[in-house]
Symmetry: C2
Subunit: 412 residues, 2 copies
């Protein structure tokens, strides 16, 4: 089963919007064994949209489109769908009712444009949109599945997870594809490749891809075949070889993110955590609270941008800042120990650095960051120089200190 | 001048990586008058890559590819380029020197795989990569421009801004495209469309798109023509009509983000700001410090997830939490006033709510959030019920409280 994903919208083509929908849809399709072999984005241009959908239906088993189902004038996807499937728009009662309920809840009167959202292509299977009013539109004809979804990410996700994927799974597939992520942190892509090369590692009946990000480099194995057992064996053999060579950098082999690996470990150890942040400006705390249930381990953080705040809130000594500077091993140490003391948590983490683009000096260049982890027994502070722009330096700092915490919790 | 952007990589097709590069490249091309009419993603599959590049060169003036120039085995883009342009790889001295310098700085020995990065297609114009070692590869043949860039976002950005765009601009273009963003906050897309429809607004010689995001809905006008003066007049006429109808929700017409509009206003007013965050968990502070130079107005924040932290750090009265709950108008008021008092800033903002997915009750459903803004004269607290998942609720909360601060600074 091969699929194409078509994202529709001038805003995607022009770069005004980053296309996150296609990635989500692709992940979902792959998880049920569908091979996504092509992605295309076209503008709000009906002839172009029609050509792309027709071309997709002639070459792929599954054609998914997203975007162009909202209430405004730049939405012409439904007309195109009607032309492709030789049908017409009719008012759909359930959709109209859902719209009316929605507008009532919001205390708004329904506009003509909004009412138009109840018009749906005759003969289509409509997939309920639990988070919005525009349902997914599905046609299953001549062995090919077409599905069109709204572009609002949360609505698209709900249609994919609760409608599209179950539909496709029931329809059955004869091919097994398995992906396995071996996730590393603290070693660059080229060095990983070199280590594997030196050890003579070559993927056996599988493909290996390197997926670098600021939250580490993922080594991703992919294998496919007729049976699950066969493919899993291939994956296991390759995984074992990779772990033999670069296992020390691996934080998980079960597709969790670095953040999930850290927060799971915090929960398993039943410890509490707080953060004293300077250059990361709240990002460490934001990450630690991305997870539902984080109130079980995260109680508070203090973001001390100004020197006075470091002194007043965390008990950093003025002499320390005067002598070594706010960006120094010593200040970072007093910050993290002060946080631990004042918050009374089991662990504390801290950051102080120069995120840039301004503020760097010869001695302390942009990207220089001190990161600390402390518990009652021990304080570790490490110095890093990260390359990249402000956002990259902050992101790398936050993930690196979370990884330091992870290693501490593992007793390393 | 029409362009196609081709992003290469199994990781993009599979959804493991969200394709942010294409959006950045598209924005850059449009800014110099190039029309981006198509985007395609293909996997690490040489025949597919070759077909797509050849197809692009037969239909478009400019073909840009990104991805597939890294040091690892899944990178075969350069071989494909050689086939398309009927040339071969030769060792490029400047690239080799840059690689050697880089490895020396990092105190690493250069692997064979890394050395392969110095091999470049003969006859290509190489664009220096200031943030990495893989240069951009450019061919300008038969009136068509082809450019291939690394997939690492910061490196791609540097090649686009410092190499590709200047090259294309020098080459000249006869067409003027102007985009104008009219950015709104606090009104949904459908309501904006309804207001414009009721006022009889129809774009004159321009296209209007609605770009909704959690940081507001952007109304984006686009017009094109032969001269800048002509196109600007069209844009001005349409902008004026739109402002007449929905101006009260517009925070900028100069393409700044809501965050930039708020931080610019903070700077212009020479005021300082702090935040007391509960459900947003650090996100408000992270946003306020995304901007370089934020240390001029942002001094500190306190993230109080636990009730004890709200009491100890912000002086919220235990009776208030007991009587009204941590998620209440009263607690939010005491949080924001406590923050103002303890931080001594000119303004403080605060959040307390239920980000979900757990923790909701009939009285206080998931998505219910109280947001506050205070200065010495006045405290405003407002209640919202946001729909969407945890991430969406937190993001909407953060942007909404920043907009409340913006309106306060404007005296509204």
């Amino acid at each position: 089963m091969k699929a194409i994903i078509i994202t529709i919208g001038d805003e995607i083509l022009s770069g005004a919007t980053v296309d996150t929908n296609a990635a989500y849809i692709a992940k979902g399709l792959i998880s049920i064994g569908v091979d996504v072999t092509r992605r295309v984005s076209v503008g709000d241009n009906p002839p172009e949209m029609e050509r792309e959908i027709r071309d997709g239906l002639s070459k792929f088993d599954i054609v998914i489109t997203t975007g162009g189902l909202g209430p405004t004038d730049d939405d012409m996807t439904k007309d195109v769908i009607c032309r492709v499937f030789d049908t017409e728009l009719v008012e759909h009662e359930d959709t109209l009712k859902a719209l009316e309920r929605r507008y009532e809840q919001l205390n708004l009167t329904m506009s003509k444009a909004a009412r138009g959202m109840a018009m749906q292509p005759k003969g289509a299977t409509l997939i309920h949109n639990t988070l919005g009013t525009a349902p997914g539109i599905l046609f299953d004809r001549d062995g090919r599945v077409f599905c069109s979804m709204a572009g609002v990410p949360s609505e698209m996700r709900s249609i994919v997870d609760q409608g599209l994927l179950p539909y496709l799974e029931k329809r059955g597939t004869d091919h097994v594809i398995i992906f396995k992520n071996i996730s590393t942190f603290g070693i660059p892509e080229s060095k990983l490749a070199e280590r594997l090369e030196e050890a003579g590692f070559v993927p056996q009946n599988a493909k290996l891809a390197f997926l670098p990000s600021y939250a580490g480099v993922i080594l991703r194995l992919r294998a496919d075949g007729k049976s699950e057992a066969e493919v899993e064996e291939v994956i296991d053999i390759n995984t074992k070889r990779i772990l033999d060579v670069v296992g020390e950098y691996v934080f998980t082999t079960d597709s969790r993110s670095l953040l999930e690996a850290v927060t799971d470990l915090i929960k398993e150890n039943h410890v509490t955590v707080s953060a004293a942040e300077s250059c990361t400006g709240g990002l460490i705390s934001k990450l630690l609270t991305d997870v539902s249930g984080s109130s079980g381990y995260f109680t508070q953080s203090i973001i001390t941008y100004a020197n006075e705040a470091k002194i007043d809130r965390l008990g950093v000594r003025p002499e320390t800042i005067e002598k070594y500077g706010a960006v120094s091993e010593q200040t970072c140490r007093e910050m993290v120990e002060g946080m631990l003391r004042t918050a009374g948590t089991d662990y504390a983490v801290a950051s102080t650095g120069i995120a840039g683009p301004t503020g760097g000096t010869d001695d302390k260049p942009v990207g220089m960051v001190y990161l600390g982890v402390a518990n009652r027994d021990r304080t570790d502070v490490r110095r890093f120089v990260f390359s990249g722009d402000r956002d990259v330096v902050r992101t790398r700092s936050a993930f690196t200190v979370l990884n330091m915490l992870r290693l501490r919790l593992l007793g390393k």
